[in-house]
Symmetry: C2
Subunit: 266 residues, 2 copies
């Protein structure tokens, strides 16, 4: 079993509750990575709705920072009819709700096969010409064990921040894989949209950028292989910024789009 599958596993503990164990391998900055938590919630919903296994849209509101250890996912199916179901989900640890979310699930395999995407696939140099996350300094990898879960190869134009020369374009892009070799699926895309460093790094603002809200739309089942992930921000104001993310699969399909609202690093 891949590490990803073991560490996002959920076990039914009641009619609509699931137990999970948050691994400290996904720690970063002030808590456990939000994308990892979203994948756990996403997996619980997927197991709860076997005929509608794929997230189409997930909106998560982050209420408090998670810690490694036991957690519970509590689900409430708000509508289930036709080809889609909408579910409310809470991720809790003890009395504290960490994330409250709404999600609409369906079966991506049963959607139409029309594709009229006008979005352009981000350009990335070949994988071997990009900058691997494994080159991060030892002290970075110590405070962000999360980085060891991924194989990320950054666009050379978007890693100036790592050497004190941020590009200041508000863009970070990279090739992305799970380090354990686990291929992407619709639920793991919820992780992929919140895995790269905050795009504010590229604006010369290092540090943790807590997410207030993140909505992801999963638009297709990803093909196996490397994903291209691109983060961009256009509106840094009032101490907050939006971070848009696109994920493209190895077949050149735009498989996920997300936007989050986050606080600027202090």
């Amino acid at each position: 079993m891949h590490e990803y599958d073991a560490q996002t596993a959920v076990t039914a503990t009641g009619a609509s509750t699931y137990a999970a164990e948050l691994s400290d391998g996904w720690h970063v900055g002030g808590g456990i990575n939000g994308g990892y938590l979203l994948a756990i919630i996403g997996r619980a919903i997927s197991e709860h709705l076997p005929a509608k296994p794929h997230p189409l849209s997930v909106s998560a509101y982050y209420l408090s920072a998670s810690v490694a250890g036991p957690a519970e996912v509590a689900l409430d199916v708000r509508r289930d009819g036709g080809s889609m179901a909408t579910v409310a989900a809470d991720l809790r640890q003890g009395d504290a709700t960490r994330i409250t979310a709404l999600a609409t699930y369906g079966d991506l395999g049963r959607l139409g096969d029309d594709v009229r995407t006008t979005a352009e696939e981000p350009h990335l140099p070949p994988v071997e010409e990009c900058v691997p996350s494994s080159m991060a300094p030892e002290e970075v990898r110590r405070v962000a064990p999360l980085m060891q879960r991924f194989d990320m190869r950054f666009h050379p134009d978007h890693v100036g921040w790592a050497v004190g020369e941020p590009g200041r374009t508000g863009v970070i892009s990279a090739w992305f894989k799970l380090a354990d070799g686990r291929e992407p699926d619709p639920v793991s895309l919820l992780l992929a949209v919140d895995a790269l460093p905050p795009v504010t790094f590229d604006l010369g603002m290092p540090g943790w950028a807590p997410t207030l809200e993140l909505t992801a739309h999963v638009r297709a089942v990803p093909a196996p292989g490397w994903l291209k992930v691109r983060h961009a921000t256009r509106n840094v104001a009032g101490g907050m910024f939006e971070e848009d993310c696109e994920v493209w699969d190895s077949a050149g399909r735009l498989v996920a789009q997300s936007r989050q609202l986050a606080r600027q690093p202090r």
Copy 2:
């Protein structure tokens, strides 16, 4: 009192429930306009949290089509601490939930005054050179009484669909005001992001495009006057499309960003 204020009014009926009356003047296509419903929900939350009156982020999942008549907004404050509060909200009619939503509220006036927006304000010709929504044919105005609530002046390049010549760029932009002269505020921006015709009109796909999910971020208190509203889509696939919306105020500030996932018109 302005029509907008009268028709979005809510009355407390319990510790966390509010009554509203959905006006049929906001009818369009298969139901009542989603932006109007969101403004009613937004107003209930605002009245419930007087110290945090402004939506920062609202995510709405549309479960069933609303009809004119009585409705109830039921709120559940999920977290209230520091400068923000997160609330779950349902809009119901009888036993049917129409919309379930999550929202984080705060006070936009207390955010920092830094603005580092790199987004470019959309270009629109002067108001008097744009195409007024009042020029819509009588039959359109009959099926969409909604249009009479707004004064919209469309970019001439983005109304080809009205004469059978859609621009096919996936963009619609317009000057926007409430027809009753009511100035914009943070809650009414929730209406502004879902007021224009679906961007699929510009792709030669007329017809109602039901929203599955819409998330709006309100980033600043809008200045009085005309708003610029721009809708764009980049990923029409699998029978669905995303619609991104930006709202700019008369002072040239990007005051709201939203994205919705909707079904293509049939």
